[in-house]
């Protein structure tokens, strides 16, 4: 937490340093049986396109290194890249923050003749990681999704609701969930989960 990145930007006559501060900078890291942390800044790219266009699917797969998930609520991974299914014509690519610009350019140039839209949304969301024996019970405090391990299995991902916030849930294993949330909702989600932990511990 704290400062996630410092960039020197050429602001005309003199260089200006822009500091990007974590949205959870003033929240204490939660440790114990269940832990809550904010992951280091991840690069995020939103991609729209026609899933029925074979050329689109193939070109994107060639760039990211894994198949584009076309089945609902699934994700695919290749090295440091994760591609999440968001909708029938929408995907989210997670990559290293330093790789965003290059990946964007590669997608734009390789798809130049195919109808698509690609947007850098790295600053729009942050990702929290909730881990521990009670993760499912904690998520149930604010999420209406059926989280039974037979229904929502490891590696599944989905967009859903937590409290009043829209989130992207990604189940890494039975005791670890990544929760992607809009930057400005982070403190809300953080405090909600901490309250849920207090309620469970008692």
């Amino acid at each position: 937490m704290g400062d996630q990145q410092s960039d020197v930007v050429n602001g005309g006559e003199k260089d200006v340093t822009i500091k990007t501060t974590s949205p959870a900078y003033n929240r204490q890291r939660i440790e114990g049986d269940n832990t809550l942390i904010e992951l280091p800044w991840i690069g995020k790219i939103n991609l729209r396109g026609n899933a029925e266009n074979k050329r689109f699917i193939e070109k994107v797969a060639a760039v990211v290194g894994c198949a584009l998930p076309v089945e609902a609520n699934t994700q695919e991974q290749h090295k440091s890249i994760t591609v999440f299914w968001l909708g029938p014509d929408e995907w989210l690519i997670h990559c290293e923050i330093d790789a965003v610009a290059e990946l964007m350019e590669k997608i734009k140039s390789d798809l130049s003749s195919i109808h698509h839209a690609v947007t850098d949304v790295s600053d729009y969301y942050t990702v929290l990681q909730l881990q521990g024996p009670d993760v499912t019970a904690l998520l149930r405090k604010g999420c209406p999704l059926d989280l039974h391990p037979e229904v929502f299995k490891s590696s599944h991902c989905t967009q859903t609701r937590f409290g009043h916030a829209s989130v992207l849930l990604h189940k890494l294993d039975k005791s670890t969930f990544n929760i992607q949330i809009r930057w400005s909702y982070t403190e809300y989600l953080w405090d909600y989960l901490v309250s849920a932990m207090d309620a469970i511990d008692r």
Binding site: A72, L86, G87, P144, T158, Q159, T160, R161, S166
Partner: protein, 101 residues
């Protein structure tokens, strides 16, 4: 609480969705020729059905796609959902009592 099936994401809780009124209302093509009454009918007047009702829903907290739902306004029974552009399914609704005149 209703359980609604998103045609893309599957069965989800009602609180992930929002409802936006009656479906299959086509915007008139001859807009320049419409009278005020015809405009009024198109913009404001809805069928207020008792029984099977076809309505538009959007999966706000999920894939954010629009689709249609066939729901019984009397019993809240949901018969099913279908994608935009698909024809409304024909539904017999034995669980709606006759409207008393």
């Amino acid at each position: 609480m209703l359980v609604i099936e998103c045609p893309w994401c599957g069965k989800r809780d009602q609180t992930e969705f929002s409802c936006h009124g009656e479906a299959h209302i086509a915007r008139p093509l001859n807009t320049e020729e419409l009278s005020e009454e015809e405009w009024g009918n198109y913009v404001f007047f809805r069928s207020n059905t008792k029984g099977v009702h076809y309505e538009r829903w959007v999966h706000d907290h999920g894939c954010r796609r629009w689709f249609n739902v066939a729901r019984n306004t009397h019993s809240d029974h949901i018969y099913g959902s279908y994608k935009p552009g698909e024809a409304a399914p024909t539904i017999d609704a034995p669980d709606t009592p006759e409207a008393k005149s």
